[in-house]
């Protein structure tokens, strides 16, 4: 356990009333945290950013970013963005329906508790074991594939392939959907019964209530959650690595290749690739934070 400050400060703390301290001394209490985050988060990130603007000799250059215009990098970004977008929007819609079903859909109460607990588990069940579970189930010789083949439906002849984009999206839903259920549940809980009753007393139909009251109130939450889900999929690496062995060109996999084998042949290009990821993640999460703040206006 670290000391936030020396004992001398204790007397100062006793005297200090709630409010702002003018002395610089209290800031020393943040030193362990500041040093740790500098050493293992801020400096390594800064290193990537600075390195992305340097050529092999250490001189300033923008050439690393020009590399975004090459086929491999462009393709990695479009694939990553497409998969993240599809799974975010798909999971946002179905996750919302699922959360609404168990919260306000008239299903027995124990189902709600079970779904919420399971969502906590499934949103954290990802990476290697998740990819494997899908391979054992709907891979080329998976349980479900074999079963479907036996009854005359061959998914792999019908255009499905687990080791492709669509397969990866199917797997990503496994952690995207439960995350959506968890983050949208408070917003659905926040829909007050009185709003619905008021709308009905004024003669609104169910459709009108949704169109004019519920959806506008939920919209910031829905959009914000979608952005969070986008970031959640965009940063994923292990699941795709295990599932496709690098056959799908994602930004995270390309960064991994660069890290283990310098496939881009210039360190700076790898740094630029990583910085591009941080920028996209920052946009997605800032969007989530802003929309979440708007959404909270309705919750008290």
């Amino acid at each position: 356990m670290s000391h936030p400050a020396d004992p001398l400060d204790a007397r100062a703390a006793q005297r200090a009333r709630p409010g702002r301290s003018r002395s610089l001394l209290p800031w020393l209490g943040l030193a362990p945290f500041a040093l740790f985050s500098a050493a293992f988060l801020l400096i390594p990130t800064a290193k990537l950013i600075i390195g992305s603007f340097q050529n092999s000799n250490g001189a300033f250059t923008l050439a690393n970013y020009a590399d975004f215009n090459t086929k491999i990098v462009l393709n990695a970004y479009t694939t990553s963005i497409e998969i993240s977008f599809v799974t975010a929007v798909g999971a946002a819609i179905f996750g919302f329906l699922l959360a609404y079903a168990v919260i306000s859909g008239g299903l027995p109460a124990p189902i709600r508790a079970a779904v919420m607990t399971f969502s906590g588990v499934a949103s954290n069940f990802a990476g290697i074991p998740l990819a494997l579970a899908f391979i054992f189930t709907i891979g080329r010789v998976g349980l479900l594939t074999v079963f479907l083949r036996a009854i005359g439906i061959d998914p792999y002849k019908g255009g499905f392939n687990l080791y492709s984009k669509i397969g990866l999206e199917l797997v990503y839903f496994y952690f995207q959907l439960p995350l959506m259920v968890l983050i949208i549940a408070p917003a659905i809980d926040g829909l007050k019964r009185e709003w619905r009753e008021a709308a009905e007393n004024l003669g609104a139909t169910s459709f009108q209530f949704w169109r004019r009251v519920a959806l506008p109130i939920l919209m910031p939450s829905l959009l914000g959650s979608t952005m969070l889900l986008f970031g959640n999929a965009f940063g994923a690496q292990a699941t795709a690595y295990q599932l496709t062995g690098g056959l799908i060109n994602l930004v995270t996999l390309l960064i991994g290749d660069q890290l283990s084998g310098d496939v881009l042949h210039t360190p700076g290009k790898g740094f630029a690739l990583a910085v591009g990821m941080i920028v996209i993640m920052a946009i997605a999460l800032a969007g989530y934070a802003i929309l979440q703040r708007r959404a909270e206006r309705w919750r008290r």
Binding site: L98, G127, T252
Partner: protein
């Protein structure tokens, strides 16, 4: 609620339930195809590498939790007690790991610590330090939130002043006054951290550490049945961790993590 609507909501639930159950059933069925029926599980338990990687991962997880709690609880406490003006900065830093995906974080760490003067990746101990540090970074967002939520439920100032007037020093205040009061919140953050670390792959593989997930990923070449058993075990552990969190009850709402081990 009209009848058609209720049928629709049941349908939504059933579709979801089937989607979530199938991969687990498929994996279970596959793991039981070995002969004799439980061979996949007994072989896995007898597998030496399973034992070493699993214990190693668990140890790394415990180390991560210890460092994270020791770092975050005093920080969150101090911000509430003395530095409310620092809150936005601290909060911003604890949310940064969401913006830096694990593969980018490990890229930055290796770029920073693979050459002199700080060549940590050269030795096993150095790599272990980097591994734990990286996992502590991953835990920052929900650990800070857990600690801060826990602290918001108590009167930090009154407790601190009461302890001080009884002659307690800072270590006593933190360990015997503050920590017991935020125990539930911190425990739930700790179990989440443990679940994430034990299954983490990306950072482990680039730092070349003998963690459980890289072992599991390669196990299929030798014995896919064991691999299926290992996948289910991994799911079961996540389940246990999350059940404990939900049993902890109030103040333990830290189930949401983004990024993590995906």
């Amino acid at each position: 609620m009209s009848r058609t609507f209720r049928i629709f909501w049941w349908l939504v639930f059933i579709v979801g339930a089937v989607y979530f159950a199938l991969p687990l059933i498929g994996t279970l069925a596959f793991s039981l195809k070995d002969k004799p029926i439980t061979a996949a599980y007994t072989d896995l338990l007898k597998n030496k590498e399973f034992g070493t990687t699993f214990l190693y991962s668990f140890g790394i997880g415990l180390a991560t939790v210890a460092v994270s709690v020791a770092l975050i609880v005093p920080t969150a406490f101090w911000v509430r007690l003395r530095l409310p003006q620092a809150r936005p900065y601290v909060e911003f830093i604890t949310l940064l790991p969401f913006m830096v995906p694990p593969v980018v974080l490990v890229f930055g760490l290796i770029s920073t610590y693979s050459r002199p003067p700080l060549s940590l990746t050269g030795s096993n101990t150095g790599s272990d330090v980097l591994l734990v540090a990286a996992y502590v970074v991953l835990s920052l967002p929900y650990m800070y939130r857990a600690a801060d939520t826990g602290l918001s439920a108590i009167d930090v100032r009154a407790l601190t002043e009461a302890a001080q007037s009884l002659g307690a020093g800072w270590p006593t205040i933190l360990l015997r006054v503050i920590l017991p009061n935020v125990r539930v919140a911190v425990l739930s953050g700790s179990f989440l951290t443990l679940a994430i670390v034990v299954g983490e792959f990306t950072i482990a593989i680039f730092l070349a550490r003998p963690m459980f997930a890289p072992f599991l990923g390669l196990l299929g070449d030798a014995d896919p049945y064991q691999q299926a058993a290992g996948s289910l075990l991994s799911f079961g552990l996540t389940w246990v961790a999350l059940i404990i969190i939900s049993l902890l009850g109030r103040g333990s709402q830290t189930r949401i993590s983004v990024g993590g081990a995906r």
